[in-house]
């Protein structure tokens, strides 16, 4: 099963085990894809061949030690890195094909803003690339600016923003194109806890409203448990998937969940898995 035909929409095969739900189609398939970088000191295995399926409309959190290949996995899903072998398919298409449809939203680990564009115009950037009208989306952009708490900073340049503010611009930018697949690489890393919580809730709202298939890389275990349907725990050396843990809490989840004992139990379970103490499936 090394090379899936590009157009072959895969049969349903839920990674999600809540049997009561109808089995949704799979949005992202990573099939035995690994990534080795050539360096001056020989090959460097960033990701051992891994397989992962993400159901349409589901929320998956990626968690794992620094350097275990989370960003690499995400970049592979976005088609920015080619897997050495195996296949990566989004909606049955190669990432290069899929992203041209404008259904992909992405926030990189590094904000990657255009230094000469204001906050507003940075957020509008994906629209321009996708050839959509910025004018028609002005309201939407202003909403997003408000959502990430940057009202009043519309005309600021990236050089005039704090680190956290830049990251928030990147979050808003990833949402502006109304993506149906959203890839977020530690988007809340530079935010304070209060803002982080707010953003978590907002992200859940957006995700629920639009059924956006979301992959979130995070170091916040609580955040992962709060937001995700499934948490993918990765391990390093070589980068691989150690365990996939389902999060059973009902939706919508409210901030109260953070203090629920079941929540803490799951967090502890995750922590253990991170420590390498989880059972490997």
């Amino acid at each position: 099963m090394n090379a899936l035909p590009a157009r072959d929409y895969p049969a349903l095969e839920p990674v999600d085990s809540r049997e009561t739900r109808p089995q949704p189609p799979v949005d992202l398939i990573i099939d035995q894809a690994g990534k080795t970088f050539e360096t001056a000191r020989g090959p460097m295995v960033a990701l051992a061949p891994i397989s992962l399926k993400v159901a349409k409309g589901s929320f998956v959190a990626l968690i794992g030690p620094s350097g275990c290949g989370k960003s690499t996995l995400l970049r592979m899903a976005a088609g920015l890195e080619q897997p050495d072998n195996g296949a990566v398919l989004i909606r049955g298409k190669h990432p290069e094909q899929f992203r041209r449809e404008g259904e992909l939203g992405i926030a990189f680990q590094d904000a990657a803003l255009l230094p000469w564009r204001s906050v507003f115009r940075n957020i509008a950037f994906p629209l321009q690339i996708l050839g959509r009208s910025v004018k028609a989306h002005t309201d939407k952009i202003h909403e997003l600016i408000e959502l990430v708490g940057l009202k009043g900073h519309e005309d600021s340049l990236p050089g005039q923003l704090s680190g956290g503010m830049r990251q928030r611009v990147a979050i808003a930018r990833s949402l502006v194109s109304d993506p149906s697949v959203l890839l977020l690489d530690e988007p809340f890393g530079a935010l304070d806890q209060i803002l982080r919580r707010t953003m978590n809730v907002e992200l859940q709202r957006i995700w629920a409203a639009r059924q956006t298939t979301t992959i979130l890389v995070t170091h916040g275990i609580d955040e992962a448990v709060f937001l995700a349907d499934e948490v993918v725990v990765m391990q390093a050396k070589p980068g691989r998937i150690a365990e996939i843990i389902k999060i059973p809490f009902a939706r919508p989840r409210t901030p109260e969940l953070f203090s629920h004992p079941h929540f803490h139990a799951l967090c502890d379970r995750l922590m253990a898995s991170l420590h390498g103490e989880g059972h490997t499936e």
Binding site: R99, E101, L104, D110, L114, W116, I129
Partner: protein
Amino acid sequence: MTDLATRSNARILFGTLLFLAVWEFLGQTTAWGVAMMPAPSRILLQFFADRELYWLHGLATIQTSIIGFAIGTAVAILAACLFCLLPGLELAFRGVNIALFAMPAIVVGPLLVLFFTGNWPQTILAALMVYFPAMSATLLGLRETDPRLADVVTTYGGNRWTMFRHVRLRGSLPSLFAGLRVAAPIAVLGAVLGEFGSGTRWGLGSFLLSSLPQGNPAKLWGIGLFSSAIALTGYGIFLLPARRLASTTSAVTLAALRPSFAATSMRTRLIRLALIAAAFVLPFALWSFGLWLSKLNPIIAPGPVQTVQFLFQGHGAAAARAAIGHALAQTLPIAALGLIAGLAVAFVLAALSVLAPALARAMLPFAMVAQNMPLVALVPFVVLVFGRGTMASVFMAVIVVFFPAYVMLNQGFAMVPRAAGDLVSVYGGSRLKRLVFVTVPFSTGHLFAAARLVAPQALLGVLLAEWLLSGVGLGNLLNISRGRLDYDMIWAGALVSILISVAAYEAVGLLERTVRR
């Protein structure tokens, strides 16, 4: 801080005044000063006496420079965009590009005069001289983009064109303006040079030519300084937006990856080889085509075949080769020296703009004047200081070489992200340390671009020196051949010097690829 700045500005003002005073004194009292370095007051008086002529000649030069500048830079920017979008095209046209730039004026000038009338010969000469530096600078800016931004564009399905339109174009603005800063004074220089040769009645070049035999150094210096002033104005205009552009264009944070350099990702070796072949053939093809189109008498304009035959066939071939070889043996070492020295001077001046910005600002006008002083007017002075030997030729080459290199370097230095500088500051590092450890490594791209740009130019500078000063080498050979209407020799010489320039250009490129890998 502001206090410090005013103080250093005041010191510089004082220095300038002192300089003028010393000049005035020497120019008034010493015999050689009177003859070769007339006092500022005498220059001003002469200027005043000639004011009506300055109006007539100056206006013509300004007009010619502006039109030449506009044509040259417009073509340059367009070409740079095309070359950026289609890297293969750049490779294929490299030969033509360098040939256009490296063609000795001694060959181009007479041809332009033959084919164009009115102000066009000098206008086109200005445009030709402007094209390559402006194109190189713009292309560099278009190519050196933050890899992080490329990722953003790619994930939204952007292609080469969207990347170009939304990222590269804006990101290249600082370099583009650097290109315009190089181009503006060169346009003036080209206009003056063209006017000098073309026999036109109006223009500072013809003013200079007609004033040369008058034995009035104050007049020559006046003309030189006046054209320098025009050039400096052009430079200044494009300097104005530079600082703001640099600060809004350089990344806020340091990218972990270096800008991907040379976007030449040719698919296969074969295509690359084909393009290199094209690069080699294209100039010759255009040469033949141009001749065919113009129906020029082969006595004046031999085709490629005739030129190669001249060098390798028939009874005179060996003698011709020997003559060129002998001339090259005199020219090349000096050109190499001039290139290195010119780059060194440019580097020192650019470094000064980091180490002692006020001082650099104060020195720049002098450097600009040296670059734009018509070399013919400088000759007696150069002879006085350096004699007519190697030093004088190297000096002339340096004058020609350092300015474009300086602007490119300075531009590169200005683009270093703030974060990198901060890092040095917090450890109490001096400006020198910042230069050595951050600024220079960060701007290797510009460093090599500068070297590539001026590699052909050094040869041109030495040719000029040989023509005006030393009377040896290739420059002299070309000049004498012109007097004998020996165009076979002239074109052969031009061909050889162009080939050498291409080789120098590629050598720098090779060095860059090794260093930046």
